[in-house]
């Protein structure tokens, strides 16, 4: 039988459901605070009216350190690591599978998140980003390693394990958002209403 099976009519355009999701961002958000180290978190926790407790700090920091061991970006060359994280921001580490050295960015802080809806404490390690800010293992970039932000919940998603897996080489993809410097560079030869299907 050459006919399509298990098939339903497809609607096009904006009538009814569209194939496309509306935006790239998730809507569930969290309050997040970046700290350069455990000490600065503890210092904030000791102030009156603090929104974090000392336990929050130590738990979040411990979790970030654990995530760092499991999921830090790992590269097969210093150049590849510095390409992503900036010169002087990487160090060599032993390769558990006995291959060549692995290179990892230095831990430069951690992100502590609390759900706005209450409950759950979450954290992520932070590494230097070559553009001057910091970045999580999932690739979310921030301008610095201290301060507050409201972020989509997906920022705290458990990153993929990199420990004892093949390291990245310099052509790896970064999902981090980055400011757009120009648009309109495709479609310039398009004039008028005729389409490009053929």
């Amino acid at each position: 039988m050459k006919r399509s099976r298990a098939f339903r009519p497809i609607t096009l355009g904006l009538i009814g459901a569209s194939a496309f999701a509306l935006s790239a961002c998730k809507t569930e958000t969290e309050d997040a605070t970046a700290y350069p180290d455990l000490k600065s978190c503890l210092s904030e926790a000791s102030k009156p009216g603090a929104t974090v407790t000392e336990k929050d700090c130590t738990d979040a920091y411990a979790q970030a350190v654990k995530t760092n061991v499991e999921s830090a970006p790992r590269y097969d060359a210093m150049a590849a690591c510095e390409e992503e994280h900036g010169k002087g921001n990487c160090e060599a580490a032993e390769n558990p599978s006995g291959g060549g050295s692995i290179f990892m960015p230095l831990l430069t802080g951690f992100l502590l998140g609390k759900m706005l809806s209450g409950g759950g404490l979450m954290s992520q390690p932070l590494y230097p980003n070559r553009s001057g800010g910091v970045v999580t293992p999932n690739g979310t970039a921030f301008s610095g390693n201290s301060g507050k932000a409201t972020v989509p919940a997906s920022v705290f998603k458990k990153p993929a394990t990199t420990y004892n897996k093949p390291p990245l080489s310099s052509k790896s993809w970064s999902g981090a958002k980055s400011p757009v410097r120009s648009t309109g560079g495709f479609g310039t030869s398009y004039k008028g209403s005729s389409g490009f299907g053929g």
Binding site: S4, T11, C25, G195, G198
Partner: protein, 403 residues
């Protein structure tokens, strides 16, 4: 049941005149198929339908088209290995390394549509391969399938009627094989064009069925970030981009310089620019002379040396013409039999292909569009034109399989 068969004998493809569904326009409107009528003239025409036997489909369309695609992939490898051959393809030299890199890295192809001349007699002949930006995917899948089911239900077609229509499922499977679940794939087409958007969205539906996350932005909104990647207006980087926009245009545009370092995987990948290019026809003939599904073809400057191949006339085609633009058909003496109305592509290098007239059915010339998804042929859609050159306003005609 109204049926008229043109021509004698069982081994030709039949044209049937059938009563259209009374509410077909309403069905089209409801489905968002707004381009069923274009420039005032009908595009979708279900008062005519072609009837094929299963043998004709399997032996004469499906298998040969799959084989032709394999021959095309072989040709791409050979051309990319040779500067001399590559120089014939009409592609800008500064982008040859990028194009070759997409082949070397194995950037996967999604789909393409081969245009074949065939009437049930003899073998189907490849006229050209739109391997970069084929349209009519929606009509070829969802819409003509709906027509078949409705007409079977109405008793206009027999219960046993079938259709060569597996391309949408094949595309869903292809997406599943190429990407991880929930992975984001961006889609783009030119702004304010319902037909291109319709084709793009149909492909996106297949991606959605495959569990991916399709997002859309118009071509002009694609940005370049400070770190040299393509992105949407908010700076969300684009890692995979399906584009209904031809490579020959993109490679000549300002953002082409960012392609190689962008980390963006294009669908179709740049190596497809060698296939969606009439220059592939003389290359295929050069590598597979005498193949039953190929027509003799040479570059314009070589044609005089092979006059014997053009005893039945010749078709002169610019390398990158679309929808029959700037195509000329000449008889053996060099007189024009037919010329395209659209002269957009008149300048530029050309190839010459032996003339093989499209069959004539009751005033119309049908052209078979065989869909290649991944590496195999899995469906077909037919278009008709009163003229010998299938152009922009040709009509889409459904088909069915019986016998």
């Amino acid at each position: 049941m109204l049926r008229k068969h043109s021509g004698p004998g069982k081994d030709i493809v039949d044209l049937c005149h059938l009563p259209p569904r009374e509410n077909w326009r309403e069905i089209a409107e409801k489905a968002g198929f707004s381009f069923h009528t274009m420039y005032g003239a009908p595009y979708w025409n279900e008062s005519r339908a072609y009837r094929f036997t299963l043998r004709e489909i399997e032996d004469d369309i499906e298998d040969p088209a799959t084989e032709l695609h394999a021959m095309c992939l072989d040709a791409v490898g050979r051309i990319l290995d040779s500067e001399e051959l590559m120089s014939r393809m009409g592609l800008p030299e500064e982008h040859w390394p990028y194009i070759a890199e997409t082949w070397r890295q194995g950037h996967p192809a999604l789909y393409g549509r081969m245009d074949l001349a065939y009437d049930g007699n003899g073998t189907a002949k490849l006229l050209e391969y739109n391997a970069d930006t084929p349209t009519s995917f929606y009509e070829s899948t969802a819409f003509q399938w709906q027509w078949l089911e409705d007409q079977i239900g109405a008793g206009v077609l027999p219960d046993t009627a079938d259709q060569f229509n597996g391309a949408f499922e094949a595309m869903t499977e292809r997406f599943r094989a190429l990407f991880k679940p929930k992975e984001t794939v961006w889609f783009t087409s030119v702004p304010e064009n319902a037909e291109d958007y319709g084709t793009t969205e149909t492909i996106a539906w297949a991606a959605k069925e495959a569990g991916l996350n399709p997002l859309y932005l118009t071509l002009d909104k694609i940005g370049v970030t400070e770190d040299g990647r393509f992105a949407d207006a908010e700076g969300n980087p684009i890692r995979t981009l399906f584009k209904l926009y031809p490579w020959e245009n993109m490679l000549a545009e300002p953002f082409a310089e960012y392609l190689a370092q962008s980390g963006c995987q294009m669908i179709e990948p740049a190596w497809k620019a060698l296939l969606s290019n009439k220059a592939i026809l003389p290359m295929l003939w050069r590598f597979n002379p005498g193949h039953p599904n190929l027509l003799p073809a040479w570059f314009e400057d070589e044609a005089a040396d092979h006059a014997g191949d053009f005893a039945g006339g010749m078709v002169v085609k610019p390398l990158f013409s679309r929808e029959g633009g700037s195509v000329r058909i000449l008889d053996a003496g060099g007189a024009e039999i037919a010329v395209a109305e659209d002269h957009t592509y008149d300048e530029g290098p050309k190839i010459v292909q032996a003339y093989h007239p499209l069959p004539l059915y009751d005033g119309q010339h049908p052209l078979i569009g065989a869909w290649i998804v991944g590496d195999a042929c899995s469906g077909m859609g037919l278009r008709e034109d009163p003229g010998l050159i299938t152009q922009n306003l040709s009509q889409f005609i459904p088909h069915y399989i019986e016998g």
